[in-house]
């Protein structure tokens, strides 16, 4: 979906343009968030990210809104929430992820396959450093540019590129080890 002029529209009439922001970014934010926090909490975390985005936009003046790069800006909010989620999870007992029924899946079987795939990828991603995991997910799940990732994570461009390639190499090693007994 084209986002040309969306910041302009948000600055002019926040409430009228905000649905476009949500509809434009909800799938990408949800996909990335789900890779970080799993299928059970992804919806809540994604919702909260948009609600915080709305609150922030409400408090920004026109110039600040028109100057925003929406994708990296939304991700600074979403990544922050994912970090909070990880922190609060470490303080409470771990629950086994049995949540498989997603309305998007065609059948229970598909849903189970998808949940298993997500669970194994999350296990692999958890083995990476936070910086590598974030960079890999934003680059290859969400499909962001290195430039936007650098902005979203507030890290230098070169570091982000290195994080992505090292992260992918680490994932390769992890997968190879899964194959051996």
């Amino acid at each position: 979906m084209a986002t040309t002029g969306l910041t302009e529209r948000l600055a002019t009439d926040l409430d009228a343009a905000f649905p476009e922001l949500v509809l434009t970014f909800q799938h990408r934010i949800y996909s990335g968030v789900r890779s970080f926090v799993g299928g059970v909490d992804a919806e809540d975390v994604t919702q909260e990210a948009f609600i915080r985005a709305h609150r922030a936009l409400h408090s920004y003046d026109r110039d600040r809104i028109t100057a925003l790069r929406l994708s990296p800006w939304l991700w600074t909010i979403a990544l922050n929430l994912c970090r909070n989620w990880a922190r609060s999870r470490s303080r409470r007992p771990q629950t086994v992820e049995l949540h498989v029924d997603r309305a998007g899946a065609d059948s229970a079987e598909d849903a189970a396959v998808e949940a298993a795939m997500l669970a194994s990828w999350r296990r692999r991603l958890e083995a990476l450093s936070e910086a590598q995991r974030t960079a890999v997910v934003l680059r290859h799940v969400v499909g962001m540019s290195y430039q936007d990732i650098a902005q979203a994570t507030n890290r230098p461009l070169g570091t982000v590129k290195a994080d992505v390639s090292r992260g992918l190499r680490a994932l390769r090693t992890i997968i190879d080890q899964e194959g051996s007994p």
Partner: protein
Amino acid sequence: MTDISDQLNELATTAPPGLAEKVLVATGAGRFYDTVAGPTGDLVVGWSRRGVYGLAPADELDDFVARHPRAAPPVHAELPPQLRSRLERAFASGKLGSLRVDLSELTDFQQAVLRKATEIPPGQLRPYGWIAREIGKPGATRAVGTALNKNPVPVLIPCHRVGRSDGSVGRYAYGEEMKRDLLRHEGLDPDSVDEAAQRGVRYIGSATTNIFCHPTCHHARRIQEENRVELSSAASAAAAGFRACRACRPPVAA
């Protein structure tokens, strides 16, 4: 590494249905719609924080959603209880009351036309020319008709109470039958209105007060049969010594 990035790409999915709706309801941003029982049938009503921005017969729902795309189509949500009770009160009384309508996207002219239409009491009919005159644009009768035809909140803004210059009920954006039903619901018989118009009756005068009115004005309807004078124009009313009613304000002949 390509295979890994391809596999990671498969983690890209779509957000669960309803996520956007929940966000918009939680923030109050955006536009919503729901269906509600109107005075003569189910209606789809659209609202935002600014008030009711749209209304249409419920069978026009798809069209309604498509007609209000703007930045993003309206989201289906449950009508908030306060708005529901205000709508019910407005439908029952034929008056907006404390209900807010959002006309902010219309031109000043369109807004003036629609605001003026809300001054017509339930069960009464005024010609297009009356609105044109009242808003200070006596030559804009046709433009008034167009503005009323594009009324985004019919029923609530009673464009059904505006009819043709000859005094007949006339047309309606959602079909003449709906207009007639709405008027009937308000206690006005559209058939007798058309019948009088066909006989050339434009105004009704009172032989006792020497005041003349639009035929549906509540003053005109109180005139006793033996004192009722049917008039074919404002000029003939003036010639016969009638002065214009201050409530329904028929034209003063030049």
